[in-house]
Structures are given as structure tokens and as C-alpha cells.
Symmetry: D2
Subunit: 384 residues, 4 copies
Amino acid sequence: MVGHAFMGAAHSHAWRTAPRFFPLPLTPELTAVCGRDEERVSRAARTYGWSSYETDWRALVERDDIDVVDICTPGDSHAEIALAALAAGKHVLCEKPLANSVVQAEAMTEAAERARAAGVRSMVAFNYRRVPALALARALIEEGRLGRIHQVRAQYLQDWLVDPQFPLAWRLRKDKAGSGALGDLGAHSIDAAQYLTGQRVTSVGALLETFVTERPLPASASGLSGTASAETGPVTVDDAALFTARFDGGAIGVFEATRFATGHKNAMRIEISGSAGSLAFDAESMNELAFHDRSEDPATAGFRRILVTESTHPYLDAWWPPGHLIGYEHTFTHQVRDFVTAVAEGADPQPSFADGLRVQRVLAAVESSAAAGGTHVPVDPRQP
Amino acid sequence: MVGHAFMGAAHSHAWRTAPRFFPLPLTPELTAVCGRDEERVSRAARTYGWSSYETDWRALVERDDIDVVDICTPGDSHAEIALAALAAGKHVLCEKPLANSVVQAEAMTEAAERARAAGVRSMVAFNYRRVPALALARALIEEGRLGRIHQVRAQYLQDWLVDPQFPLAWRLRKDKAGSGALGDLGAHSIDAAQYLTGQRVTSVGALLETFVTERPLPASASGLSGTASAETGPVTVDDAALFTARFDGGAIGVFEATRFATGHKNAMRIEISGSAGSLAFDAESMNELAFHDRSEDPATAGFRRILVTESTHPYLDAWWPPGHLIGYEHTFTHQVRDFVTAVAEGADPQPSFADGLRVQRVLAAVESSAAAGGTHVPVDPRQP
Amino acid sequence: MVGHAFMGAAHSHAWRTAPRFFPLPLTPELTAVCGRDEERVSRAARTYGWSSYETDWRALVERDDIDVVDICTPGDSHAEIALAALAAGKHVLCEKPLANSVVQAEAMTEAAERARAAGVRSMVAFNYRRVPALALARALIEEGRLGRIHQVRAQYLQDWLVDPQFPLAWRLRKDKAGSGALGDLGAHSIDAAQYLTGQRVTSVGALLETFVTERPLPASASGLSGTASAETGPVTVDDAALFTARFDGGAIGVFEATRFATGHKNAMRIEISGSAGSLAFDAESMNELAFHDRSEDPATAGFRRILVTESTHPYLDAWWPPGHLIGYEHTFTHQVRDFVTAVAEGADPQPSFADGLRVQRVLAAVESSAAAGGTHVPVDPRQP
Amino acid sequence: MVGHAFMGAAHSHAWRTAPRFFPLPLTPELTAVCGRDEERVSRAARTYGWSSYETDWRALVERDDIDVVDICTPGDSHAEIALAALAAGKHVLCEKPLANSVVQAEAMTEAAERARAAGVRSMVAFNYRRVPALALARALIEEGRLGRIHQVRAQYLQDWLVDPQFPLAWRLRKDKAGSGALGDLGAHSIDAAQYLTGQRVTSVGALLETFVTERPLPASASGLSGTASAETGPVTVDDAALFTARFDGGAIGVFEATRFATGHKNAMRIEISGSAGSLAFDAESMNELAFHDRSEDPATAGFRRILVTESTHPYLDAWWPPGHLIGYEHTFTHQVRDFVTAVAEGADPQPSFADGLRVQRVLAAVESSAAAGGTHVPVDPRQP
């Protein structure tokens, strides 16, 4: 595993926990974690249960005792690491967004395709696909319970940047993060919209905004502490991204990703309206799915709050009795289950790098549209 | 009162009821109602309690025993009736949207300005301003409880057109209704956004969509019955309108108005995010306002569900004890209270025709932007 | 109408409004209102639209131009007025609880039975039966959608007595009000439970509590103003009533009525659990009914939020389009509709005085049980 | 660890996971798991990560390489195992309810007191105390944010017994489980009520009910599979328990524990109403706490939905960014953290066996009251 911050903790937990709850065909071993600061990475290895550590990801990629490379670093290093890992014949699980640019994502997707011929698997970590409520939503849509899809409304609302004194962390720097709320949050919404509807975004009309354009530099190098120094620097990414979209199946959508939605902490919400029904989800109530079935008698119709904790719900047979909730990190545990199962079975795990590229192309079109004043910009339609 | 359908019933109730609950300086008399079909209008007069009726609005406007003309007809006749009524020195209350075009709205606004010099009052019926929860929201924003406004997210979700066999009622014909979801629903959202934030929309980037382009003609002339004939005709208005917006105070917004949001009946929702707090409203729970106060200790902060039924809340001292709800028609009763009070005091009721024109200009910009592929189109900035 | 305070305003509105929205076989005339204070009753007559007034209810009862007597006074005068009105051949609508004692309620029920033989109708005003959501709940239970009823959980939560300085209003005096939260709030819950389930309470085990035993005397004679004097007096009724119950159909129930539930204003809640489904209601969201259908596939089952505003829902064809809410006073308007319709058709309106007596007997059993330390006390099983 | 079913899986996960997220003074080692069926226990050891296994708990208790015994068996064996473990000088964590009778619980509490003198620690696993939202609730009450506590309303609603064909599992047999919904669910509610309010229950008036008195015997010996055989047997425990309560601080409460609340899966709900505020919790939304602060201006007061995911909330600094939920098993991980920390520091972990005994005495009083027809029965007031 490369990287050991927030995402590294979540991924480590998932690698440790998946085999305890799911009957996996292969048992993951936590061989080595990688980070540049030796003191911090050695502590991470102990804390998270990795047998060894490296301070150079190139060394990690070359080790013979490693079959899988899990990339949890900021987006600017995804491409380089993934290309090397695939070239070395390692299966790759890469955090989202796939890369910081379409060019990088294309290179990664091509590399993944080539590696695939040699039986090497790759996957991008859109973990919301592994929320049972969203997996159930996908199943219901596939069954036709929503009929023809008319509309998507997706919001991803956070508020951690409302304070103008919050420091200029790496997520606020275009060179490290690629974009702001757009790539960090909007990427999840785009992938979820395409995954759930089975339709692809074909064009977008966008507006990006940065409300606070100058922030204090972080006091610590990592930029994670939340404490600020006296110096300031420019915010080079968006605080909020708004866009409308058209899909290839005739649906339209409206998207909002923001870090300025005061009072919302992680409201990754998506609602799909179809001719036969509707579905709505909010990650702040991630064990629930709202479902409206239009075939119901209007006298008793209404949005149902499905508590997605039944043993027949996706992934839930491994967990607790009905009504006992699961949390955020379970999405990573489910991801490990699916990734390991696919690797063992010689199948391609989903979402693929090609799926990640598709999201990247939408992100690029959003940025183009915003730069062009909002006019609808087509998303590159090529199949990777 | 001109027109006696859904809106006419609501307005009649308001004229009858306002003096029973509010201490009005003048007591409204329900003198005459007007409609083209004598049998139907005479029945409406009896049912709703009007002393007489007319079948030609010109006759109504000329009657000496009438001081106020209340226009509840489809949008295509607003301008003509309002201009005549103002010219005849009658105070005018006009349903929204003010007109079917900016040109009409400009003429009406100019006429209202001229009449005003003679003490004649005019008002456009954006009744959501009279929902106590939204009046409270406005008061909180004026007090500065939200700080700097960053974002508006407005949805107006209905679903009565999902059935492709629903007939081609007048609301689906551009010549009668001007536009579809945009003018019928979006107009409320735009007025609410501008009213609540105190900011004006300066540009919009839009996407309009008509999902069902051909519908059965209505079986009855009125087109209200919901029954359909075998013949079909083209739908000439939008089923859904999506747009992003910029405001003159630096806020940005995202709007959705649709009649295809399966499961939502009248979800007129608006949320305002500011640097010091947030407010959220949903007309399907119209007695509630959600408020997040960022000055709270994070350990106990959260969106509060304010049940807007206290005697200190706007309009509520006239009604019931705390926790006893009011309904949709109360907004019209409140409107009558405010209109009558302003007329009696020689003050200008709000929202004015100028406010209606401002909304009309936003609607026009939305249509221009959609026609131009979504590029942001400036809203005509002239002050009426 | 006798009495013209909070309830009088609601009833007046209902008498005025019912014929405007519902096609009634008879049109109510607001002939006379009665109150002891001439200045106040004359003002009430003007405000609420009554043609005349009386200061002695005996005079009202004797007037030839009156066919219906509507009793909106405190409980201690219900029996005397109702008996006189029935004896005079007037149809009677009486506020709940029917009386302050079982003895009074028995006399009233006997008088109603006698009058009935002469075609004189009587009804007790448990207005929650006219909430569309509860009327729908009753219909669903009658259709068997809940199967065998196992459990009732009823709460009626208010908080207006939490402040120990709130004055000793008439509702806190046993001689005027009979009991406290029990008769004021619990009576609604008991009637709703019996009405919805179709089962009768057979025994109760209770606990009554008065948290604040001494309160300032009200500054004004009416005791309505909420202002307090320096003198205090003893609170002679319960602040909270808790009881468990058994029903004759095998169900069990738990009830709570309280004026000390901080933060709840009028949370009249009832949930019924059956072998085939469940229903839940909360008056603070009175346009909604939650329904769980156990015949659903568990994968998509969940409580549905039915927005009870469809034209096919009880009473709703008279009101607004779907999603447009109605309020508290509509329950009284619906009550007038049903009462007038029954009178015109020569039918017995529901709930009858006998229904009121049944509730009274449960209230009496609750008081007996509480006095006896909580042991289950049977409810007098006689049929009135 | 003794026992390896549902609770065993949760406890194993907690022992493995706590040291990965919390800086523990001691690192737990998963030495041995115990179960009677060798095949099943050996598989459990592998799955859950225990180094060895035993088939006789006496052997486990005698092992020198074991410092802590974690008891996850049905209630009938708690006393025997705990007494032996404490006698052997092992720290003991025991699932709830502490025992199946007061006599057993008294013996356990005395043994725990004696062992304590030798530095041996013991704790009963009321895991809901480790839900961050309830820990926050306790902190707010301790700070005085609720003022004088007036009322408790506690519900624990499940529905897994509604189907009369559900088999007679061990939880439905008095000899194994002690009681039904009362001890399984009500015990949690009683502990939570006493813990949160800081008051003890002094008397209870109760009603117990068994709706389905005869059920099919389970097809498998374990009784866990949910499949049924053709033979039936008597249900010897309650399906639902209802009771009112008085507390030593002047509060009153109403409790319901049921397995027949159709549509509710694990609705462990508790609301506390005080003179200065209210708090409400529902385990089906376990990351949330509702708080009403009566010191707020009524114009902006309302129940707040606190999303209990801030780093300043109890236990949350170890987990994810705000808005990212945790699940049911985290309560066990937190329990391990607190237990291990107390053991390392030579402190007494909470809740103690004495707390467990206090709950047991309330359960006994509930059964006595129900047997006596509901009259209020005092809870044995002795301090253990």
C-alpha cells in the first residue's frame, strides 16, 4: 500500500477485516506499506498491521513478495505509481479520481488493458459503489423498477472550507489535487450517476467557483493538521462545482459538489427519477435507501425508507442482524472482497480504470465548460 | 376576481377568511367573480360566496362598486386585464408569473408605476413569501444569522406529467402558459431565492427538456379534468428546467424545476448556505424550517427542525396554539392581509410588479441560455 | 355555539368554511354565539361572523331559530348544556372530553339515546378522527392491511407547562377541567386507539404525576393570557399520565399524555403494529401517514411516508392539488361536513356520545388504577 | 472468549480492531476461543483470528496464558463461568443481561467485589453506553443541559417474531434466556435510562404479553438457523414487555420492549425530557442525537439533528472525518478500549457487575409486577 493517511487507514482496515467476515478465495497479507517519512511510515506499519515498510514506492513495486499494489496517495502520483506497478505485473487498486488529468488517465487505462492480457487486474476505488444501499439501488434499476430514467439529481455537500482561516491543505492546490470539490466529491457523484443509471454523461454545462481565494499556509508540512501559519497562498482549485448534464440514454441531470454547504458534513446524495419509480440516497444516512414505486396505488404510495440491513441485501449477509448499522469503512472492506474475488477468479473487478477514465473525461468537460462560460461541452465519447 | 379555477378557490377563501383572523383596517367584500362560461361562473359565485358575477372581465373592470381586481387567469391574459384595471384605478393583485413575456411584464410594471402615483396599488402573488417558515427565513437572513451568502440550492419537484397519457392541458401549451415547469414552478424558486438572499440573479446557464413531446388532447375544453381524447398534440413547453445562476452579491445557485420527479408532489425546496449558518425549507413540510447555526459549539451543532407555529412567528399569532399546523391556503390569506393592510395604509405591497418583472427577466434569460446551448446569459440588469 | 375561545374560533371557521368546499345537503347559518361577558361575546360574534349573541346559554337553547347547539366550553358545563339542548330538540355537537365524570357522561349518553328516537342527533368532537391521515389509517385497518393487531403505542406530547411560572389556568384545576393531560390529551389518544383498531380498552394500569404542584394564579380572570400574579394556588390535575392497556381484541397498548415533553408542541402520535403491517402518525406532520406493509419483499420493504394529499384520500377531493398541505382547522371543517350530512340524512354522526362515554370510562379507570398504585383496573364494560 | 455466535463475532472484531485505531496501554492478544462443538469452534478460531480453541470453558479459565475472559454465551451460563474466571484471577467481560436471575447476579457481584480487592476487574457489556451519541447524551446531561429530568420514554422495537412460524430458538426459552424481550431488549433500555439520567428506577408497574404461545421447534440444535421442524413447543418468555417506572430523582418513565413491532428492526430509542432541554436517540440512526435546548429563543428553537461524527465527540477522534458514519460493531471496539484502558490503569471499568445487578433487580420487579396484575412493585434498593 502506498500512502498511509486517512485513506491508508481505511484501506488497511479493509485488508485486515475482509477475510474475517467474507469467505475469500485468497487471504490478503499486509506485506508492506510505503511512505516518504520513515518515522511516520514505520509507525503506520505498526499501527495498521503491515509487516514491513518502504520509503520509496519504487522499491515497493519491485518486491517479489507483493502481488497487489494499493495506491492511496494524492492524485498527482497515481499515474506514475500505477504504470510502474502494472508493468511489474502487480494487480493495482487505485484511489479515485483515477488521475489528475485525462492524459494520465488514458495512459493508465491503456496500461491496464495491456496488463489485463497478462492476467493482471486493476480497479479504481469508487467506494460508494460498495455502499449496500447503492448496490441495492443499482440492482433495482437493472430490474427495471424505475422504468425509463428521466432525471438525476446529485449533491455532494461538505462544509469544511467555510472558515476562511482553514489552511491551504494539499487538497486546495491544483498541482497536487487536480481540482477541488469537483474531483474530490463530484467524481464520486459522476461515477455513481453513471453506474446507477447505466447511462453515460455526454455533455455538461458548468459553473465553478472559489469563494475564498487566499488562505493561510498550513503550519505543518503534511497540511493535514488544520492549524495555519501566518503566511498565505492562493487557492488554485474550485470550492464549489455546479453543472447540468445530458446522458446517452436520454436522461438529464444536475450536479453540485461543494465544500461550502454549511451544516453538511458528508452529504453525498443522489436521487434518480424514472417513469416507474424513484430512488434517493444520502451518505449521512448510508444504511437507508428511499424508494418510491409508481406502480403502487396512489392512496398508499410514498417514499419508503428501506433500512438496508437485511441479510438479503448486498454484502449484508456477512454482518449483523437487521437494523444493526454498518459504517463508512465497510465500503472499503466490501471493495477488498470484490477485488480479491475477481483476482482469484481471473475476472475484471469493477469499476475498471476505463470507468475511471470516463469520469475523468467528464471532469475535464466540466472544467472546459466552466472556462467557456457554461456552454454545454461534449464529453469525449471514445471507448477506452 | 377574474378566474375561478384552482387559484380562484384559494383566493376566494383568502378574501373571506383574512378578516376573521386578522384585524384588518378595511374589510374585503366579495363583490363579483368573472368567468367566460355563465353556468360555471354563476355556480362559482354561489360556492365561493361572491355577490355577483360577470362573463366579461372588461365589464368587471368598469364596475364602480369594485376597488380591487384579483387576476387568477392563465398567464396570457394577465397583461391585458392588469393594464385595464390599473387604468380604471383599481388596485390589482395578479397571479404569478406576472406575464408570459418580458415585454408584457415591462408594460405592466410601467403601468403599475404610473398608477402608483395616483395611489393605486399592485402586487404579484408569489404566495410562498407568505409561508411563515419562509418569512422567518427572510427575517433570520436580514438579521445576519447566515453571514455572507455563498450558495442557493432550489428544487421545485412535482410528478404529475410522468404518465405520458396525461392530457395536453393549457399548462403544457406555450401560447397559454408561456413556459412549462420553468414559469409555473421555477418562477416561485427564483422569487424565493432573490427575496430570501436579498440578492438578484445576474446570469444563468440553462438546460430545458421535454421528455414527452406529444400528448393526448384533453377531452374537455377546460383541460382540467385529466381525461384524455384519442387525438394528440405537441407539448410546446418544458417538462424540466435546470439552471445554474450567479447573484449580484457573490452567491451562486443551482435550480431545478420539474414535473417529472416521480414521488414528489409539491416539493418546493430551497436551501441557503452562508458563512454563519444555513436554512432549508420544503413545502411538503411547510410548517418547518431547518436552521443550522455555525456559531454553535460543533459538539452540539446540527440542523434544527423549527416547527414554525409559535405565536412569535410571522402570521402565527392569528392562528392556533404551538404545534397545530396551517396549510397551503393560509399563504393566500396572509397575502390578503398584507395587500389590504398596504392599500389601507397607502403603502406599496410586496412583491411589486417590478419584482415580478425581475423574475420574468430571469425566466427569459433561462430560455435564451438553453436555446444557446447553456452558455451563461446575463439577466437584463435594468431597474424597472 | 356556546363558548368562543380557542375552540370557538376553530368551530366558527368550520361552520363558515365547510359549505364553501363541500357540497352539503344543508347550509349552516351562524345564528348566535353565547358567552358570559357581553363585551367579549359581542366582539366574538363580529369577528367570527355570528349574526347575534347571547350571554346565557339557557336563552340560546330556547331560541326557535336555532337547530344545532355546538358546545365549546370547559368540561364542567358540558352535561348541563347538552341535556338542556337535547331536551329542547336541538342537535348537539359537544367538545371532548364528553364530560368531567362518568356519571355526567352516562346521563348525556342516555339523553342522547332518548333524543335520537325523536330524530335529534348528537356527536362528540374527537376531531382527530377527521385528520385525513387517520381516516386513511382506519380504512386500511378495516381492509385488513394490518392483519391481527398486536400493539398500540400512543403518545400525546406537549411542553407548555415546563415553565413552573406558567400560571394556574383553568386547565390545571380539577373542578373545571376534570383532569389534566389525561383528559385533555389522553382522551384523544384513547379515542384514536379504539377507533383505529376497532377494539375497546378493557383494563389499564396507570401512573399519574404532577411535577409542579403549586403555580402562580393567573393575572386575568380568564386564565388564558399566560401572565401570572404573585399569589399561587395548588395544581389539582396531572401533568403527565402514563398507562398500559389491554384491548378486547387481544391487543396491548402503552399510552403517554404529558405537558412536560420539552420540545414537543403537539405531538399526538399513534402507531399500530399488526401481523401484516404497521401504521404510524404524528400530528406535528399531520399530512403524512407512515405505513409498513409486511407482504412486501424484505429487500424493498420499509416504512412509507404517504403524503395524504391525493384526491382519493379521505376529505381531500375538496381541497388542493397533491402535495399542498392542509392544517389543523380542517379537522373541524370535516367534522361539520360529517355532522351536517348525518343530520340531513337522518343518520347518527360518529363519534356518538356513547363513544365519548367509553373514553370517559377509560379515563376513570386510569384514575382508579393510579390511585391504587398502578394495578390493572377493568374498564366498565357496559354498553351504553 | 467463551461463545462464538453473533456476539462472539462482534467481540472478536473488537479485540482485533481496538488497538489499530486507539492508542491502548496494553495490546490484546486473541489467545483462545471456547465452544462445545469442536468442528464449529475450530472454524470460529480460524475465521475470527483466535490462536487456539477449547471445547470446555473450565479448561479455558485455567490457562495461564489468558488474562481476560470474555463471556458471550446465553445468560444461563454467565454466573458459573464468571465465578470460575474471577476465582482464577481473570479479568471478566460479561455479556448482558448479567445473569438469568437476581440470585445469580448477586453472587457474581459479590465475587466481582472480592476479586476487585485483588486487582481483578469485571465489566458487563451494555454496549449501547459506547454509542458515541449516547455517550454525548450522558455528557450533556452531566453538564446540566437538560436541567431537572422529568420524563424518560424508552422503546426497544424489533419485529423478528411476528411470523408465527419462526422457530422456538433459545431466546424464546425461559431456561436458557431468563426472559424474552424484557431481558434481551428491555435490559438495554433500563441500563441506558439509569446511565443517562444518573437516577435509579425505584418501582415499576408492568404488563408482559406472549402473542404466540406455541412455535415450531428449530430444525437444528443451535436454534439459530431460522428453519423450523414440524413439532412445536411452548414459548416460555414474553414477546413484549410494557412498564411504567419511577426514578429516585423524581423522574417517571415509560418503557416498551417488543419483538412484535412490525417494520422496526432494531429501534432502540430513548428520549429524556428535562426542565432545560430534551434528548432523543434511535439506534436505527445511531450516528445521530436529537437535542432540544430550551434556553433557545422559541423563534429558532427546535430539535437539532446532531450528526455525532465530529472529532470532538466521544470516541470519534479515532475514526473518520465528519459525516462519515460508524456502525454497530464500533460499540464493541469502544468497549474493548475502555475495558483494556481500565485494566491497564488499575481502574474499575463501567458498567460494573453491580450496575448489571441493578438492571437485574429492575427486570425482576417488572416480572413481579406483571405477575401481580400490574401494581407498582419496588425495586430492591440495596446497594450491592
